[in-house]
């Protein structure tokens, strides 16, 4: 384990940024935090987490896939992929680190999504333990421990210092490059912090939320549950929950007409939208109830069914904070799960 005094943190950022683009949570003018590129003078945010999740780094909201240029009867196909440099994402919380595993299973299984794979291979993740979880946090429900964040390097911040431990070869190499600014140390302070986090986790209001009622094979049992009517009653069908969610992974592929050609791009889609997965025959989910159900069945039943029981929610709480009508996965789990949800 190595540590660096917080007084020297900007020197450390500068050192990282010498070799790779560095992104870290920074406060915006509205008071919320977002991952922004580090530049001289940037200030690392104290916020627990960002509104937009770090999935943006690997799966950006829009991305060009290819382009066509037409001239007379000729069509030229243009490869829009660009070379990418290494980049470092600093301060990723345990929940969000886990979200990358969930996205990997979608984008890196055959056929591999080369756009995602390219970004993923260039990113180095420095995670950060959460010393002050919010009441909306329920990562523990999904077996995630905010005191033991994973990633290429794990970090713990105390009042005075920041501690690092590498978990992968990439992480080890980066930490070695920072050896002039860090010093070897024992783990007393980190052990102490972990104990404090464990104690807080026992006090979180959502600590007893259970997944027992959900998982692969539950489609028949849950699909027609009467509770969906009530739960979806007030849903506006906006995309807020899906767009702030670190594990929502659906996208649409669209063509943009440039006048003398076409840019084919993909952009995030939301199962809450009326034209989601619209096909030649029309839509397969005609009501908001069906769309709403899709979001939660995907996270709690369909995804685990196809991924060895892994749920595609990490309990980050973003949808709890941001839904305009305060409807969210916790309320769904408690209502549908009945006693098993508590």
């Amino acid at each position: 384990m190595r540590k660096c005094s917080l007084e020297k943190i900007n020197l450390l950022f500068k050192e990282i940024a010498k070799n790779a683009e560095l992104y870290l949570p920074q406060d915006q003018t509205d008071g919320s935090a977002a991952y922004k590129k580090w530049e001289e003078g940037s200030v690392w945010s104290n916020a627990l987490n960002t509104v937009r999740s770090p999935k943006d780094f690997f799966f950006p909201q829009t991305e060009d896939l290819m382009a066509f240029k037409t001239e007379g009867k000729n069509i030229e196909v243009i490869d829009t992929r660009k070379a990418l440099d290494d980049f470092v994402i600093f301060g990723v919380r345990a929940c969000d680190v886990k979200s990358f595993d969930i996205l990997d299973r979608v984008f890196l299984s055959e056929p591999v999504d080369s756009f995602y794979a390219l970004r993923r291979s260039h990113g180095v993740i420095i995670s950060l333990a959460c010393s002050k979880p919010s009441e909306t946090c329920f990562c523990k429900t999904f077996g995630i421990n905010p005191a033991e964040p994973t990633g290429d390097i794990s970090a713990w911040k105390t009042e005075t210092d920041i501690f690092f431990e590498s978990n992968t070869q990439k992480g080890k190499e980066l930490l070695e490059k920072l050896s002039a600014l860090t010093e070897e140390c024992d783990d007393t302070a980190v052990v102490d912090q972990k104990a404090k986090i464990d104690a807080i986790m026992q006090k979180l209001p959502l600590k007893d939320l259970k997944t027992d009622a959900f998982g692969g094979g539950k489609t028949g049992e849950l699909f027609n549950a009467p509770e969906w009517d009530e739960l979806s009653e007030a849903c506006l069908g906006c995309g807020t929950c899906t767009f702030v969610c670190p594990t929502c992974q659906c996208y649409d592929i669209k063509d943009f007409n440039t006048g003398n050609g076409v840019i084919r791009f993909r952009c995030w889609d939301s199962c809450m939208y009326s034209d989601f997965t619209k096909m030649a025959h029309g839509n397969n989910r005609l009501t908001q109830k069906e769309r709403f159900r899709q979001r939660f069945m995907h996270k709690l039943v369909y995804y685990p069914e196809n991924n060895d029981g892994l749920f595609s929610c990490v309990g980050c709480g973003r949808c709890l904070v941001k839904c305009p009508i305060s409807m969210n996965i916790v309320k769904v789990m408690k209502k549908i799960g009945g006693k098993k949800g508590e």
Binding site: E135, P205, A234, G239, S274, D275, P324, K331
Partner: protein
């Protein structure tokens, strides 16, 4: 702290359900915490007792829900309306968006709603409980040893700081005392933007709109946005787009949205309330309202049913487009 209590509202709703005046109640449903309230339809007295809340976090405006709910329900639906909600209610009636006969509207007084983000900015994160007493909120958190006492006025939602009216402009029945239309300072911030140079103003909006994730919550919550199919969702419209691919598209959506509600926007504040990225959309709307007031005389959308908004009305006193242009030139 609200002057009307949860118990009074439950009693009123129960009465109306039991005597058959209404068959359902549109109200605020209890959440996981003390602040995450969900619009909910209640059909029985028991449901009301178990799930109805009324507190300082009941900001949601129910008017728009009437468009869908009145279609679905047999008999009448009871809706509770705060003063600002009644303007949206009237505006929707002006646009013939729901059947007035199917609604029983109860006007309720409002002391202003709190913004949970402002509460957390003072109390810190990790809310365990929020109590309300007089004009104070008592916030217990997981981290502070003592509960934090906050003046309700310090955490008012933006739209409530600039509340334009405590008067209900529509109801079948009123609970509590009627208030007055009030002189608010809601155009101050617009004036501040107007005083900027064009470049400064551009930079201001560029910064604000750069956070937009195009979740459409502002549109979907807006009582003036009730098109069956929004142009932005319609692949045949030519401008459909699901995400802002660049700065141009970021602005395009907002400019069209603001123009489309101009003259119909009641300044209810839902758009800014629901925006996950805290984009001050109300400033765009208020700019339109202020300009219309200046150019065509004072007009408040939703103040009465059937009024004609300046942009869809014609009078011989209307100023010529050229005059608007000249004024803008002189102001620049």
């Amino acid at each position: 702290m609200q002057k009307i209590t949860r118990e009074q509202l439950i009693q009123k709703a129960s009465e109306l359900l039991e005597n058959g005046t209404v068959s359902a109640v549109l109200g605020w449903g209890i959440g996981e915490f003390d602040y995450d309230v969900t619009p909910t339809v209640f059909s029985t007295v028991e449901e009301l007792r178990n799930g109805f809340v009324f507190n300082d976090f009941c900001g949601a405006n129910f008017s728009k829900y009437l468009v869908k709910k009145t279609d679905k329900i047999e008999g009448k639906i009871l809706v509770f309306l705060k003063p600002c909600d009644t303007y949206s209610f009237n505006q929707l009636l002006t646009e013939h968006r729901f059947d007035r006969e199917k609604v029983y509207a109860v006007g309720i007084p409002c002391e202003g709603m709190a913004d949970i983000a402002k509460v957390k900015a003072i109390s810190g994160d990790g809310i365990a409980a929020i109590g309300s007493n007089g004009d104070k909120l008592t916030v217990t958190t997981l981290y502070a040893d003592e509960p934090v006492v906050i003046a309700a006025n310090d955490v008012l939602a933006e739209r409530c700081i600039n509340c334009k009216s405590k008067k209900h402009v529509a109801y079948d029945e009123l609970m509590g005392e009627e208030g007055e239309v009030i002189e608010s300072n809601r155009f101050d911030e617009v004036a501040r933007l107007e005083a900027m140079t064009a470049d400064e103003r551009f930079a201001f909006w560029q910064n604000e709109l750069s956070r937009c994730i195009r979740c459409n919550a502002c549109r979907d919550a807006c009582p003036a946005c009730t098109c069956e199919k929004c142009v932005f969702d319609n692949p045949n419209s030519g401008v459909e787009n699901k995400s802002p691919a660049n700065e141009f598209e970021e602005k395009l959506f907002h400019i069209i949205r603001a123009y489309h509600v101009a003259g119909r926007c009641t300044d209810c504040g839902e758009c800014s309330r629901v925006c996950p990225q805290n984009i001050p959309l109300h400033l765009l709307n208020r700019k339109f309202i202020k300009d219309m007031n200046d150019f065509y005389g004072e007009y408040q959308a939703g103040a009465e049913v059937g009024s004609r908004a300046p942009l869809v009305d014609y009078t011989t006193e209307d100023l010529e487009p050229g005059e608007v242009f000249d004024r803008r030139e002189n102001n620049a």
